[in-house]
């Protein structure tokens, strides 16, 4: 069933969608919620193996970091070793968004739209200090960390990160995929449809993230913040 096909109604919220999924009897089914079975673990293994070794990156390169991203794709570092030589310039065929470089507010809606256009399952990497936290550019025109705009799976630090750093980040994504399971993917990876075109963070969170030194010193692990009262969101619950 589609997420938007309720007659004339508003787009469903995530909780409603999950409730609907359960009402349709998905729970505990072959690939349903919860309890992994013998079958699902084997299927998981095969699916994750396939997914992780043919990640197609969508290079969202804007500034200096993009040059390092190109260097990692070129002969010396050779991303093709990891099944990622096919840079997918169309978001619709891409699996992992690599946001490399500075993102000003003027570019923010473009980034958001490209993320919305990518198919599930999708992952994202924030490459470099600017994408992760605004870097040294704490100015009127810069987004202070793209995690206020889209969810981020892996942050690669550096200004710019070396190609080895980016490759390590991509391998962390592979590692993440290894631990995913189809039986909980539906819950974990679904994005609330009402979030499309919206900031990833609400107003309070943006302030917390974008304060002076905010993002970089409060980061706990992956997308969660230490010591803020931010609500837990299902898309951040990835293992």
């Amino acid at each position: 069933m589609g997420l938007r096909d309720r007659e004339g109604g508003d787009p469903l919220s995530l909780a409603e969608v999950q409730a609907l999924g359960q009402a349709e009897g998905r729970q505990g089914g072959l690939l349903g919620f919860g309890s992994p079975t013998f079958l699902t673990t084997k299927v998981d293994f095969v699916v994750n193996w396939a997914r992780r070794n043919s990640l197609w990156p969508m290079p969202f390169g804007t500034a200096c970091c993009a040059i390092e991203m190109m260097a990692s794709a070129a002969s010396n570092f050779d991303l093709a070793r990891f099944g990622m030589e096919r840079m997918s310039f169309s978001p619709r065929q891409a699996d992992v968004l690599i946001c490399a470089g500075r993102v000003p507010y003027k570019l923010a809606p473009v980034l958001r739209r490209i993320w919305d256009q990518m198919m599930q399952p999708k992952w994202s990497i924030s490459m470099g200090a600017c994408a992760s936290s605004g870097g040294v550019f704490d100015t009127y025109s810069m987004v202070q960390g793209i995690d206020t705009i889209i969810p981020v799976d892996v942050y690669v630090p550096g200004c710019p990160p070396r190609p080895e750093g980016l490759i390590y980040g991509l391998m962390m994504i592979q590692e993440k995929i290894r631990h995913e399971s189809l039986s909980d993917h539906y819950t974990l990876r679904a994005e609330d449809p009402s979030l499309v075109g919206r900031p990833h963070a609400d107003a309070e969170e943006v302030e917390a993230l974008a304060g002076p030194f905010g993002n970089s010193t409060q980061q706990d692990h992956l997308t969660s913040l230490a010591q803020t009262t931010r609500p837990e969101r299902s898309e951040d619950l990835l293992p």
């Binding site: 507010y105 003027k106 809606p109 100015t139 009127y140 025109s141 987004v143 206020t148 107003a203 304060g211």
Partner: protein, 233 residues
């Protein structure tokens, strides 16, 4: 934050702290007696329109002209065979802060004569309007748009005076003015919200939207302003 404010407040306030009370300096640091053939000729040709001449950084000649006759002066400099400044290198502006006038700076170079000249015009803050030089040099098109975007100077007769670097719906003002805080006027949350609600029709000119027979797609009304209710706390 305590009463005296933290270091961040100083960052927000801007560099006015280091401001000398004099505002725009009016004396060169080079040899004042040095002469420049074009300046001598300008004085002879335009008389009192040439307000001031100074030498900066050793050998760089700067001439201040009356803002009302900038185009006449520059046209003469461009076309007179003795001078022929055929390359307009740069158009920019300088705001010294503290209410002093904004300087428009034209940097000229003559390829044939291998000579440089800097022409400046001063505009008071309540009369930020000057003739465009796009009819003389096409280079000025984007450079003047940039000055308009970042300083809010109005260029009369400019063919397409729109914002160029900032989004069309940017409502916080003109960023390179000294009274503009480094982080902008709105809160980060408001800036994010506004950024994501940008309308792409803002970037199309009405004529462009007419292409392909799609009339009626009028650019939306601008929402909010600096004085509007959405100002950051």
């Amino acid at each position: 934050m305590d009463e005296n404010g933290s270091a961040f407040d100083a960052v927000e306030r801007g560099p006015e702290g280091s401001q000398r009370p004099t505002g725009a300096p009016r004396s060169g640091n080079g040899d004042p007696a040095a002469s420049h053939p074009s300046v001598t000729a300008l004085r002879a040709r335009f008389g009192a329109t040439v307000l001031h001449h100074e030498v900066q950084a050793g050998d760089q000649h700067v001439v201040f002209v009356d803002a009302a006759s900038n185009r006449a002066v520059l046209e003469w400099l461009k076309d007179d065979p003795e001078h022929r400044y055929d390359l307009l290198v740069d158009v920019t502006a300088v705001d010294y802060g503290g209410g002093s006038p904004i300087q428009i700076v034209y940097q000229l170079w003559s390829v044939g004569h291998k000579r440089a000249l800097r022409v400046k015009c001063e505009l008071p803050l309540d009369g930020l309007s000057i003739d465009s030089v796009v009819p003389l040099w096409k280079t000025a098109d984007w450079l003047e748009r940039e000055v308009f975007d970042l300083f809010g100077v109005d260029f009369r007769d400019h063919p397409d005076l729109r914002r160029i670097l900032m989004p069309q719906n940017y409502a916080e003002g003109h960023p390179l003015r000294k009274d503009f805080p480094l982080r902008g006027r709105f809160s980060r949350a408001e800036q994010t919200r506004r950024a994501l609600s940008q309308d792409y029709h803002d970037d199309y000119t009405p004529e462009a939207l007419e292409v392909g027979g799609a009339p009626g797609l009028e650019p939306p009304e601008p929402t909010g302003s600096i004085d509007g209710p959405e100002e950051a706390p």
